[in-house]
Symmetry: C2
Subunit: 413 residues, 2 copies
């Protein structure tokens, strides 16, 4: 129940009783002291990563480990170029100053986000720092093969620049669709027109780097959890409204919820009305068929607008039809959120994209709808807040997937 090596962590026994395969068992051979070491290195590195830099004394407190142990751990991480020690924080406090432990510049992860009109590739260092960002427009919607090829080209160029000063630990892909996280198969990405495309495998072959893939909104959730509005919150729901629909992710018990295959969090396809419009997904009356950006843009007489522009236009408008549409959409959103809150009891709801815009346009409406939901009086309301991370959200989230390997086992470095 309490921490193991430092209160910062808890052992959680794997719950399944699935027999361990010989291959799996073989992986666990070796000295257990090594494991303890790896774990403690991981704990320290994650703390530095998440905070972007902390005094070493703070690491000692937060991990509960001995001063000398933390010194040794940080020393090893410095040697592996995963962290650097910096000048002590200038603060008014008695006692010997403690050197800052900062994320190192060397380790980076590559983030990839294929879209219908472009492929974006980013280079992200520890601490969620986006170092580079390349957006390559495509003439047509790329096939998975084309996307892998284009991405591999960009990655090759970036590596030529980056290495050997930096070390690329892997690639994380944020896919607008259903992704089987186990092997990175894109089961269905409707807007890209991809179905059953082993995109992670393609990209791994083309680049020689380890590749992991997941749903874009799930990775957005991860990013918000580590660096954004969800920092320090162990249970929240993230919902993002984009041009291609509504994506979502669930953080539960401090863990991103993937579900059995990685398809969890598809709150955009929550059915919000029994006799609604048919959705491409096979259902009808999905949240994302009822709550869309287009009707709002049309009513506002806008051609195109990003979330900020849309929000400004909504706030400036006093058109009754606009207000009615905003209310209609917020009602649907509130319905979906109400049921999700009921199932998940989150502490927080984070809204991104145009969902943030319509919520900001009528700040109290959504709260009221949610408050009218089941059990809300007894349970209490989660706060509803906008995203904190802007354009870099997906880059950070996807890179997190790539950097996870070093964060979990810093001796890889």
């Amino acid at each position: 129940m309490s921490g193991n090596l430092g209160s910062y962590d808890v052992w959680k026994p794997r719950p399944s009783e699935s027999p361990v395969t010989p291959a799996e068992a073989a992986k666990t051979l070796g000295n257990s002291n090594d494991r303890v070491r790896v774990h403690n290195l991981s704990v320290v590195l994650r703390l530095v990563h998440r905070t972007g830099g902390v005094p070493r004394s703070s690491l000692t407190r937060q991990t509960g480990l001995n001063r000398s142990t933390v010194a040794a751990l940080v020393g090893e991480l410095v040697e592996r170029q995963l962290v650097v020690e910096g000048e002590p924080d200038a603060r008014n406090q008695v006692g010997r100053p403690s050197p800052m432990t900062l994320p190192g510049d060397r380790p980076v992860g590559i983030a990839v986000n294929p879209e219908i009109d472009a492929i974006t590739v980013g280079v992200v260092g520890l601490g969620g720092r986006v170092l580079r960002r390349v957006r390559r427009a495509t003439a047509v919607i790329p096939t998975a093969e084309q996307a892998a090829e284009i991405t591999a080209d960009i990655v090759a160029e970036l590596r030529a620049e980056l290495e050997p000063a930096h070390r690329v630990f892997g690639i994380g892909v944020a896919v607008p669709g259903l992704v089987r996280v186990a092997d990175g198969l894109v089961r269905l990405a409707p807007h890209l027109g991809w179905e059953n495309q082993p995109f992670a495998a393609m990209l791994a072959r083309a680049t020689g780097l380890p590749v992991r893939a997941a749903n874009d909104a799930n990775l957005g959730t991860l990013a918000e959890s580590t660096f954004g509005a969800g920092r320090g919150v162990s249970d929240f729901i993230y919902l993002n409204g984009g041009a291609s629909g509504i994506g979502g992710g669930i953080l539960a018990g401090g863990e991103l919820l993937f579900g059995a295959d990685g398809y969890a969090g598809e709150l955009g396809h929550t059915i919000v009305t029994r006799n609604g419009i048919r959705c491409h997904c096979g259902g009808a009356g999905c949240l994302e068929t009822e709550v869309r950006r287009e009707p709002l843009l049309e009513l506002l007489g806008l051609d195109d607008a990003d979330a900020d522009e849309l929000e400004a236009a909504l706030l400036a408008s006093d058109d009754r039809a606009v207000l009615a549409e905003v209310h209609r959409q917020l009602d649907h959103l509130g319905f979906a959120l109400g049921n999700a809150i009921n199932a998940l009891n989150p502490r927080l709801i984070v809204l991104g994209g145009f969902l943030g815009s319509i919520s900001a346009a009528e700040p109290d409406h959504l709260d009221r709808v949610v408050a009218a939901g089941p059990l809300s009086a007894a349970r209490g309301q989660p706060s509803i807040v906008p995203t904190e991370l802007g354009a870099s959200l997906l880059m950070i989230g996807a890179a997190e997937l790539a950097l996870e390997a070093v964060l979990e086992d810093p001796t890889l470095g």
Copy 2:
């Protein structure tokens, strides 16, 4: 990523970056080797607990630990009377026979389930074995104070019988309502008429034992996960239909999902229709106002019936009105499940109580409804199965809560 001390387990870093209080940090003092030991003891004990007994050689394989280490661990557990070694399994296999490691009889947890007309208390040993079960009927619906008093009386009687042969490690309470798991406050138990009753604290004071409390359906989920239909499945949804409504629980990533306060899994209050009947919970059109046992009993001309009798009656009936009502209820159930599946991507749905009955009466109907849901073609269907644990479900689940302390730290024993 892989296991630490034995592949059976994974370290999971605590995700929140909340600063560790000095008190918390103090708890983690001490030799880290102790921690490793405690964890490995815990792993072995849990394996024995879950399986009800395994050869020691199997423990070696499953944990990935060294033979000699496992021998030492089992030895310590035997010394602490948490497990016993038995005769080797008679099997046709070369090699020296390995002694069976069986759950010890000494450690027990006490399970409590307050209901509107009775309080049930059970004594459960490791391996989910229900040793005793006392049901004390009450003339009126008990208040929290009364329930605590009655329970304390029963517990005192049981302890007089049990001790010192057995050792009671704590009390787990399954409450039909919203329970704040952190401190066992019963936030709202509508049928009992309890509101903001610190039931766990009351019972702890009255018995002197550590008490934990949680929602009954959540504990049912835990029981099904450890010993029932959900064994070995890391992502499933459990839904139970009882006389007082519909309760649910979610197992996600191998962990019971409690949410921010412990109110997660309230799928009985999923809103399934926009203009439905008002529910006591404050919402309207909740699943449990639309899907109820009473209309079925009425149509069948039954006065009262348990799940099995209801199921038999449903299967025997050829009344059109009955069928229509079953379909109506399954449609609502399918709607709620469809949205939950969409959010959580479970591998399995476990139905208990009369929900299992109506599903069994029309086996394909629910599957069809769920299959028509959003993204179901791409995602694939979870299987829908009935519960495996019968009357002992809540006893086992609640006791699990009590035994969790020893399972987590066997050196307490």
